[in-house]
Amino acid sequence: MNNIALISAVTIDSGNIALPPGSARELRRADNLTRMAVAAVSRCLGQAGGAAGLAELDRLAICVGHGAGAIETNLAFVESFFAHKDMCGSPTLFSHSVHNTVAGYISRIYGIEGPSMTLTDFAWPFVSALEQAVCLIRAGMAPAALVVGCEGGSRFLQEIAVEMAGRQVVDMSRAMAAAWLVAAPGTLSVQSAGITAVNMTPLACRPEELLLRLSEKYPEIDGDTSVLPWGYALSLNRAANEALHLEKDIHWCASADFGCACVDFQG
């Protein structure tokens, strides 16, 4: 099976959002989830800026994965139509609560006209998006793909998680985004690592486990990520950058009661 080239890999949190120049008007109504995702893509493309041929690619694919996604925007929309005595609610909130809003924004801001795929899964949504990006490239549907994982943070889910566990075991209130650029081999002239395999195996579990993640294990990284529902994405991102910059072969694997996810890198 052909390797897929990993060109750049970044994660951001709500403390380091830098939106792309000229995007302010396009993003004026966007929610936190979308702004985080766009900021991650901006940094990812910036990191890949030296990739010869990137500007000529007009058929990038966009693959987005999230768990709770735009739940806060969705709840705000629900509040808006109940507040207006069952009339209509806010059209802006509704259109931003649709699951593939993030992919639509990225497509418009960067003029990307390739296929897009948005997936939802509470297990490892960023790995789900990566798996689809690899699949689309191998199918010849796009020469390269932006892979995005994002969570907007939810105070509602945070308090529910505390209620479920009887204590704080996960912090659902914080937002994050990850973005990678991957490509078919030889498409872009730039230093890259290889992604040789992406595998996910779902297992049946108690629904609460998907939120609390008490059984989840992944390669540790600096700092305590145990309360972060997307700590796995930080771990996977570090593995990607070690493969990319230290030219190491890495087998990354996460496991939990809800299944396992593995990504193999060739440095």
Partner: protein, 398 residues
């Protein structure tokens, strides 16, 4: 809905939309909907789920509709649970409502009174349709829930096609499911996209879309595993294409730019040309913008003499994440029968549309068994599938 029953009673030629049943949700708005009559969990689905789910009645409406379609699809495939358990089975299901938190009572209990109720969140977490399929079938393999808005159902078949071609799994279950919900009902109303009457795709007097609900599943296997005489073989998925408009959050590109690319990509993928297509099952929502853009795209791809073009949403309503999968089956039914009914609800075509479509009184013989089913979505997504009927589905079951 039972699609075979739907076709055999020629339900595509009539409309049965009504006011929102109070059992679904209460609303002061008067836009009609197409609601599924009777229990949302079929007897077959109850038997299938009863093996593993302690209380199937706790399932959400989208999950019930999905399991009903899944049970029917697996039964029609002729594959036993025992056989499926020996295979690597990929499951890709499209939805919108099925992946949305809908326990508003629980939310307002927390918001207004500070009382968190985890029950609704547990249902939200456990509502993953692809994982549910694996659980009730006892199968192992990849599981994806596609949330590409209104093209989700179409994209799941494309995703499954890629999995099969790349050897990721031996067999795929693809499809879509969505129940009627107060959220999209009020959402589309807020965008002023709902018709006051049952929708009238492509009609000169059309006033928007009408929401529906339903589910559809297909079982896909590599072509070499079934020969043409196999009574369970009903069609072939020949090609898939997808492209983005990069244009507007909710409106399609006025010339259907992304749709043109998606259809051309699907034809290329199938190794076919526009001349090989005998039927276009359009997205045909009945909104001003969709129908204009879609007809412009059809003219761009097929020229001045396109094959018969219909929309089935006048009979089913817009089932959102299920729509693409529902329409794949309706497309195969029409291709297999050799004729197609015109667009329910379209009495007189809007003369400003750039491509001719079949109106409600039309009934046209098809010149071949290959057609296209296409979808457009919020966010600017466009997808198309090239399908071939092997023979009539009803004949296949006799």
């Amino acid at each position: 809905m039972n699609l075979l029953e739907h076709a055999s009673c020629e339900a595509l030629a009539r409309q049965n939309a009504s006011a929102v049943p109070p059992s679904l949700f209460e609303t002061a708005l008067a836009h009609p909907v197409f609601a599924v009559n009777g229990p949302s969990l079929s007897r077959h689905a109850r038997e299938l789920a009863g093996h593993v789910l302690a209380d199937p009645d706790r399932l959400g409406r989208t999950q019930c509709l999905f399991l009903s379609a899944l049970a029917e699809a697996v039964k029609d495939s002729g594959l036993s649970r025992k056989k499926l358990a020996t295979m690597r089975v990929g499951v890709a299901i499209g939805t919108t409502v099925g992946a949305t938190f809908t326990d508003h009572e629980g939310y307002f209990s927390w918001k207004n009174r500070g009382v968190p109720n985890p029950g609704g969140v547990a249902d939200f977490l456990g509502g993953n349709l692809a994982r549910l399929a694996h659980a009730v079938l006892g199968t192992r393999g990849p599981a994806s829930v596609v949330v590409n808005a209104c093209s989700s159902g179409t994209d799941t078949l494309g995703l499954a096609l890629n999995w099969l071609r790349q050897g990721v799994c031996d067999l795929c279950i693809a499809g879509g499911a969505d129940a009627l919900s107060i959220i999209p009902y009020h959402g589309f109303a807020s965008l002023q996209l709902l018709d006051q009457k049952p929708c009238r795709p492509f009609d000169a007097e059309r006033g928007g879309l009408t929401l529906g609900e339903g589910a559809a599943c297909v079982v896909l296997e590599p072509a070499m595993r079934r020969d043409a005489s196999d009574k369970h073989l009903t069609g072939r998925l020949l090609g898939y294409g997808a492209a983005s408009d990069a244009w507007h959050p909710t409106a399609p590109h006025p010339r259907g730019r992304g749709l043109v690319a998606a259809v051309k990509n699907a034809l290329d993928d199938a190794g076919l040309t526009p001349d090989d297509i005998s039927l276009v099952n359009a997205h045909g929502t009945g909104t001003q913008a969709n129908d204009k853009a879609e007809c412009a795209a059809i003219r761009e791809v097929f020229g001045n003499s396109p094959p018969p073009v219909v929309s089935t949403k006048g009979a089913t309503g817009h089932t959102l994440g299920a729509a693409g999968a529902v329409e794949v089956i309706l497309t195969l039914l029409a291709l297999g029968s050799g004729e197609v009914h015109g667009t329910t609800g379209c009495g007189r075509q809007d003369p400003s549309l750039e491509a001719p479509v079949l109106t409600s009184s039309d009934r046209v013989a098809l010149r071949g068994a290959v057609g296209i089913s296409q979808s457009l979505a919020f966010g600017g997504g466009n997808s198309a599938l090239v399908l071939e009927a092997v023979r009539g589905m009803e004949a296949a079951r006799e």
